[in-house]
């Protein structure tokens, strides 16, 4: 046998083996393919990893009620926007329902179907007003709220109830030590507990939502007014920024780099006496944390315009490109009907007022009353409906805050930010 024949035989064998391998592995190990419309009784639900748990119980109930099976496509938050952009732009979607972050709704408004029929009068009464407003883009409701969140005050009740602390605080500030309701009280209490290696609060230079909540509390819309004019340099923004940076002296060092995870860690480690944080954190304190069982919750503080927070809702939407619209819409309706099941999950959130109220007096759900009060706040508002919002946050607002907490002049920084945002919106 010639060497050439041998080579060709080996090459053929190798090619065949590769072909067999390729064929054998055409089916991945994860189950059925995620193809929209693969079966009328199955819907693929694209969801951020943290939201999967929220919808698991709902999906089980919906299977019993409607016979629709939900397969979850779980993705990390940072990559989900890219994935959605990719699939929406191609017109081929691998999912029938998508859980969308509220800030993405304006970007994807043309790629998802109206869900107006689900927003009955009864439904609108049971959804927080800010969410009803946000779900409506260009005259159509394009997402049904699946769960929502807002920043509230978490504080160390053991420290607040300590007799010596109460006496010392009253002697120093002239009023009783209690959960803060105003900016001034928050400043006083933060200063009071900043001693002996502990800090009164945190200041987050790496995220913008908290400062924007203070802007609402000061009586201004966030960054853009209703006509999309940039108002970031108005007095309310400056007051809010000055209040925000005034807390730096009562916060752990390195405020410019503190984000949600860092702030949560500091509080759970017992390093801070108070934090303004998303309500879900109340139920997520590790069992071996030194502060477990010692934390209480209060509504977000108020400014001249009253209590206000920035809601963080996620919406279930149905892409126009899905071939399984009917089943997808049935699933969305079913998820709304059984919204309270999300509260039983590890995340423990819902979107309906009635769902929160059902649990608010139960043990372990002490954050719900403050959350409801914050979400119902007169000045509470969702983020501006612009497709450029994430870009504004990443390139303008966060750098602005980082410079401000490091000692930058607030008026100058806000004036610069205004110009940058105007350039972005051109």
């Amino acid at each position: 046998m010639s060497s050439r024949t041998t080579i060709f035989r080996i090459a053929a064998l190798g090619g065949l083996s590769t072909a067999v391998l390729l064929a054998a592995t055409a089916c991945g190990a994860g189950g059925p393919a995620a193809t929209s419309g693969s079966a009328a009784s199955t819907v693929n639900v694209l969801v951020e990893a943290g939201g999967h748990a929220e919808l698991t119980g709902v999906a089980e109930q919906c299977k019993k009620d409607t016979g629709i099976t939900a397969n979850f496509v779980e993705l990390p938050y940072d990559g989900m926007f890219n994935r959605l952009s990719s699939e929406f732009s191609s017109g081929n979607v691998s999912f029938d329902v998508a859980a969308l972050d509220s800030v993405w709704l304006p970007s994807f408004k043309d790629a998802v179907q109206p869900l107006d029929e689900l927003f009955t009068d009864e439904a609108k009464k049971d959804i927080f007003p800010a969410l009803v407003k946000e779900a409506n883009v260009d005259g159509h409701f394009i997402g049904m709220p699946a769960w929502t969140n807002a920043e509230i005050i978490l504080y160390r009740k053991d420290l607040f109830e300590d007799a010596k602390n109460k006496a010392d605080f009253k002697a120093k500030y002239g009023y009783d030590l209690a959960a803060p309701t105003t900016w001034k009280q928050y400043q006083d209490i933060s200063g009071f507990f900043t001693k002996d290696g502990m800090y009164g609060t945190d200041v987050k230079g790496g995220v913008e939502t908290e400062w924007l909540a203070h802007v609402l509390q000061a009586g201004s819309p966030m960054v853009l007014d209703e006509n999309n004019n940039v108002v970031i340099d108005n007095a309310a923004h400056k007051d809010a920024l000055d209040f925000y940076t005034s807390l730096v002296k009562s916060a752990p060092p390195g405020a410019a780099q503190v984000d949600w995870a860092a702030a949560q860690n500091l509080f759970n480690q017992g390093k801070t006496a108070m934090t303004r944080f998303w309500a879900h954190a109340y139920r997520q304190i590790p069992k071996d944390s030194p502060v477990v069982g010692k934390v209480a919750a209060a509504p977000m503080i108020g400014g001249s315009a009253g209590v206000a927070g920035v809601p963080g809702p996620w919406y279930l939407s149905v892409p126009k490109a899905t071939k399984n619209s009917d089943a997808a819409k049935k699933f969305v309706k079913c998820a709304y009907d059984h919204n309270d099941l999300g509260i039983e999950s590890s995340l423990g959130l819902a979107s309906r007022i009635s769902a929160f109220e059902k649990y608010q007096d139960k043990a372990g759900y002490g954050s719900f009353k403050p959350l409801i009060e914050t979400l119902k706040g007169q000045a509470t508002a969702t983020r501006p409906a612009t497709a450029k919002w994430q870009q504004i946050v990443d390139t303008v607002l966060v750098p602005l805050l980082q410079k401000a907490v490091a000692g930058g002049d607030s008026a100058t920084l806000l004036a610069e930010a205004k110009k940058q945002i105007q350039d972005l919106l051109k």
């Binding site: 991945g28 994860g30 990559g79 691998s94």
Partner: protein, 351 residues
């Protein structure tokens, strides 16, 4: 058995008895006509030409005792004592710099939840626990993601080698202008941001019905590893002297026969290096996996990333799964260590 039917290796062995069996004439050329010592350590496939490494042997003095060791000292053994100590310190510092992040990840995977987020962070766990491993491995879809990662990496590596070896061989042996343009063009593809090709690639795969399959992801990963593989294999083929192939053709080999029986075994170390890089490129790839997989073919890097959510970061479970996921590549690297070293050496002895 006639001469024509005699396996070429055996004929080499018969004609060049001064060299080990299977080394033959080509090996003699390699050892004497070039400086290719240590070219192919390790075993070659049975029946294939093997060139034994020509390791330096201690010279023996007239008295029968080895000469002073310093005479042949190389690398960290070379030079003055002070220089050696300095080199060892630099080496140790480099090892700490490279190794510490992995060690920290490993230790974190054994920490309790509150310990993982300690402020300030601690290196060693205060209390050792396997809870994170139980959580990570108990999560639905983890086992499937491991299988998907392995499938994808194996297919991608095979595709890269099948395409890169002949491409690199053709470029280095024929040295045509179009070959030079081709190899430069291959390099240019590495300069394009992956996201720029990831999104259209995902659309294309979806259009041809390959959405959410390991094959689609393997093809995507091949776009990353193939240019690197071609360049690597080109440098390895460059190091093999033409005389070696000419000797094989004199002995009756065709061009392909010389490639298969002489050149491929000589560059087997280089192929191992290329395979390792191609495998690692696919095994650790995240962006394409994020864009192109969903339920059926999701790979482990995406699952690891899922431990960081909008609502918190599960450090313990994330590090546990990352530690488990790194075991196969560590084992693979250790298994192929000799081939890798040989491949590295091969690239350095172009003669």
């Amino acid at each position: 058995m006639s001469t024509a039917e005699t396996p070429i290796n055996d004929r080499f062995a018969a004609e060049a008895p001064a060299y080990p069996r299977h080394a033959g004439l080509a090996a003699a050329i390699l050892a004497t006509g070039t400086k290719a010592s240590g070219a192919t350590a390790g075993a070659a496939p049975t029946g294939a030409l093997t060139v034994e490494p020509t390791m330096p042997t201690p010279a023996v003095s007239g008295t029968g005792r080895p000469r002073r060791r310093n005479h042949h000292a190389e690398g960290l053994e070379a030079g003055k004592r002070g220089t050696r100590i300095l080199l060892w310190i630099v080496l140790a510092a480099a090892m700490v710099l490279y190794g510490f992040p992995f060690l920290y990840l490993l230790f974190t995977s054994f920490k309790t939840p509150i310990d993982t987020i300690a402020v300030p962070p601690t290196i060693l766990p205060k209390e050792w626990t396997l809870e994170n491993y139980a959580n990570a491995l108990g999560r639905s879809g983890v086992l499937a993601s491991f299988i998907n990662s392995a499938q994808t990496a194996v297919i991608s590596t095979l595709l890269s080698l099948v395409l890169a070896v002949p491409a690199a061989y053709g470029i280095t042996r024929y040295k045509t202008p179009s070959g030079r343009v081709f190899i430069m063009a291959a390099l240019v593809t590495r300069m394009v941001p992956p996201v720029a090709i990831g999104i259209p690639l995902a659309s294309m795969m979806s259009s041809v019905g390959l959405a959410d399959t390991p094959i689609a992801l393997s093809i995507a990963h091949t776009t990353i590893s193939l240019p690197l593989s071609i360049w690597l294999m080109s440098s390895f083929f460059e190091a093999v002297p033409n005389d070696l192939e000419e000797a094989a053709t004199v002995d009756g080999c065709s061009r392909l026969g010389a490639l298969w029986r002489v050149v491929i075994p000589v560059v087997s170390g280089g192929i191992a290096v290329t395979a390792i890089f191609a495998f690692l490129a696919s095994w650790n790839e995240f962006l394409f996996a994020l864009l192109m997989t969903a339920i059926r073919s999701q790979t482990t890097p995406v699952v690891i990333a899922n431990f960081q959510t909008q609502f918190g970061l599960d450090w313990g479970s994330m590090t546990a799964l990352a530690a488990v996921y790194s075991i196969p590549v560590i084992l693979l690297t250790l298994l192929l260590q000799r081939k890798i070293v040989a491949g590295m050496t091969l690239g350095a002895v172009k003669g």
